[in-house]
């Protein structure tokens, strides 16, 4: 009898089918608890996402970024940033996470807007916070920070208190107003 309680939302059979369909070497797999992650290089991202959408019925539910600068136990060879795409199959409730790494000085990934339209604003947010450029995005502007903001505030090397942007406003005095 096993005491391991991890659920397996994505049956091994599905993973095997995905692997068979895409061929070896397109992605590598890791898992944590019930999360199954497929690591895919940016060059194969659109292809894999299209297959997962059309043939396996996955939809994009969440998209986000992470900066692993100085992350304990992380090998220096691995990418600094990672973008994750959380996919869900609405019919079978299978869950799958795509991950793609990028590094300085040119953090660029292909956009997934042609695959899932809903990726648009989430990619804009990742761009706004981490400066990861999504090539081919139809409208890659900042979404949260003001347009004239020049840094990417969720990068680990950006100071918590900012670089003084918040102090840089005209002072309206009693005489001016």
């Amino acid at each position: 009898m096993t005491t391991k309680q991890t659920s397996k939302p994505l049956p091994d059979a599905t993973l095997a089918r995905i692997r068979k369909r895409c061929g070896e070497g397109v992605f590598s797999v890791s898992s944590h608890l019930d999360n199954l992650r497929l690591y895919v290089p940016g060059s194969k991202l659109v292809e894999l996402a299209t297959i997962l959408r059309d043939e396996f019925g996955f939809h994009l539910t969440e998209l986000g970024g992470a900066d692993y600068l100085g992350y304990p136990g992380r090998s220096p060879a691995s990418h600094r940033f990672e973008v994750h795409y959380v996919l869900l199959n609405y019919d079978t409730a299978e869950r799958l996470i795509l991950k793609s790494g990028v590094s300085d000085p040119d953090p660029t990934l292909p956009t997934l807007v042609p695959v899932w339209l809903g990726a648009g604003w989430m990619e804009r947010e990742v761009f706004d916070m981490y400066g990861i450029v999504f090539q081919g995005h139809p409208d890659l502007r900042r979404i949260l920070m003001p347009e004239e903001f020049q840094s990417f505030p969720l990068r680990k090397d950006y100071p918590l208190r900012g670089r003084g942007e918040r102090h840089n406003f005209e002072r309206v005095t009693r005489e001016d107003s």
Partner: protein, 227 residues
């Protein structure tokens, strides 16, 4: 039969015992400014600039339990052009600051401002890249309210402080009218045409003593876009 009118004669200037001006019964003698200020202080029209949790407390002050109407300040208007008391309730982020300033400039004179709560006054616990550390750095504030959030009573206290300030200061004829507006216009043109400024205001130049700022120079932040 002749009726003698009741009343009194106004006292004259020094040296004369009487000014020859007869004031009928019930007359109160005061200065024009005092009357005007008395009117102003008892009919403050607040502009609720409520951006966060403090705004909820501000609503409580407007409701019947605390009842800001007892102080003549119940007419909350959502157009700055109808207000003369701005209450900044809550934290103000970078993106909101130009909006706040514009609303402040849109309010007609005479106008007053209250900074309500720790966040509006100092940034509070939100010492992050996006939150302005005290709105008084950028607009003139008359009364500060401490607290997170302040009790409704302290908001009423602030309104009373504001009232005494209004009563003491200001003049009915002090408004210069058009020249002042012209000056404001010129100022705005100056602001709009200014090029980017260094990202760190001089009075915060020592912020890097904790090592928060990175080498590589200070960022330039454009001035015009958000205005």
């Amino acid at each position: 039969m002749a009726v003698t009118p009741k009343g009194f004669e106004l006292p004259g200037k020094s040296g004369k015992s009487s000014s020859g001006v007869f004031a009928p019964e019930g007359t109160i003698v005061t200065s024009l400014d005092a009357v005007v200020n008395w009117c102003r202080k008892n009919s403050l029209w607040p502009m609720p600039f409520a951006t966060a949790c403090c705004g909820i407390e501000l609503m409580a002050v407007g409701s019947s339990r605390f009842d800001i109407a007892r102080f003549g300040a119940e007419v909350m208007r959502f157009s700055p052009r109808q207000c003369d008391l701005m209450i900044v309730a809550g934290r103000v982020v970078m993106k909101m600051m130009p909006v706040l300033q514009r609303i402040w400039l849109q309010m007609p004179e005479p106008k007053y401002a209250i900074s309500m709560g720790a966040c509006a006054s100092t940034g509070g616990i939100f010492d992050t890249y996006a939150v302005v550390q005290g709105v008084d750095r950028f607009i003139p504030i008359d009364v500060y309210i401490p607290g997170c959030p302040p009790r409704p009573e302290s908001i009423l206290r602030a309104v009373m402080d504001m009232q005494s300030k209004v009563q003491k200061g200001g003049s009915a004829l002090g408004n210069q009218g058009l020249p002042e507006l012209r000056q404001m216009e010129e100022q705005l043109i100056q602001i709009r045409t200014r090029a980017g400024l260094p990202g760190v205001a001089t009075e915060r130049a020592d912020e890097s003593r904790f090592g928060y700022r990175l080498p590589g120079g200070e960022s330039l932040v454009g001035r015009t876009e958000t205005r």
